[in-house]
């Protein structure tokens, strides 16, 4: 019996104290949840910040440019990009799993998502921090 079809009790993934025993698919689940929480939290924050447009064009532009003038915001934006890219790539992996495609490669697809996320995030650093330091 191959590992992909093995039947055994892996226990509850919610029992995070067992993290040393987690498999690739379980880490993918944890990372997808974590990045999902960050993204929905950011969506509420994003709309709140952009809502300064309600106070007029000057308030909107000065808020955005004031935030973008801070180096810490630029660094956090790279983090947000990494979170979004991973959620997108692992999301593609999940859609393929749901369609029953490449199930035997789902662990490698997770590692590929991680590596591609890291490459895209690192390659984007110059664009994101330009003029901030």
């Amino acid at each position: 019996m191959s590992r992909a079809t093995a039947q055994y009790d892996r226990g509850a993934i919610e029992d995070f104290g067992r993290w040393r025993e987690f498999t690739a698919g379980m880490w993918a689940w944890v990372f997808h949840k974590f990045t999902g929480w960050v993204l929905i939290g950011y969506l509420f924050t994003h709309i709140a910040v952009l809502s300064t447009a309600m106070s007029g064009p000057g308030a909107f532009t000065s808020t955005i440019q004031g935030l973008e003038g801070q180096a810490i915001v630029r660094v956090l934006e790279v983090g947000l990009l990494a979170v979004a890219v991973f959620h997108i790539l692992n999301g593609v992996r999940l859609l393929l799993v749901d369609l029953g495609l490449g199930l035997e490669h789902q662990d490698r697809a997770f590692y590929a998502s991680l590596i591609l996320t890291a490459v895209i995030a690192v390659a984007s650093v110059p664009v994101f921090v330009e003029g901030a330091f």
């Binding site: 039947q7 993934i13 379980m26 689940w29 999902g36 509420f44 064009p57 003038g69 859609l95 199930l103």
Partner: protein, 121 residues
């Protein structure tokens, strides 16, 4: 069965909508990041520039659909993640309606914002 972890019971409406919105969001979130960080740099964003983009009906419609699908996908994802953690009974009902109200308020505020920007061009 292959290693497969999902917070959703396959086959339900919530399960299907989560995946339909996912397929849309994969494209639009990537587009949004690319447009507002690589084509236009975030540091150069102004009210006039945002208003000009939002005055284009195709962009406006895409952003509204982006807002609605992202809110649904996020709020539905949070709800199902909490159910995974054992959310049940009255707390489940309260959390469900709390998330629905929060999601609707976010969509309403996002549409108001888009309208302000679209009217400012």
């Amino acid at each position: 069965m292959a290693e497969r972890y999902s917070s959703f019971a396959p086959g339900g409406t919530s399960w299907l909508l989560q995946r339909v919105t996912a397929a849309f969001l994969i494209v639009v979130l990537a587009f949004h990041f690319f447009l507002l960080h690589f084509v236009n740099h975030a540091a150069d964003i102004t009210f006039a520039g945002s208003a000009a983009r939002m005055a284009e009906w195709g962009y406006y419609a895409t952003m509204i659909l982006f807002l609605v699908t992202a809110t649904f996908h996020g709020v539905n994802g949070v709800y199902n993640a909490l159910i995974n953690q054992g959310l049940d009974g009255t707390t489940k009902t309260v959390v469900k309606w709390g998330l629905i109200v929060a999601g609707l308020l976010l969509i309403a505020q996002g549409i108001r914002l888009a309208n302000v920007l679209a009217g400012g061009a």
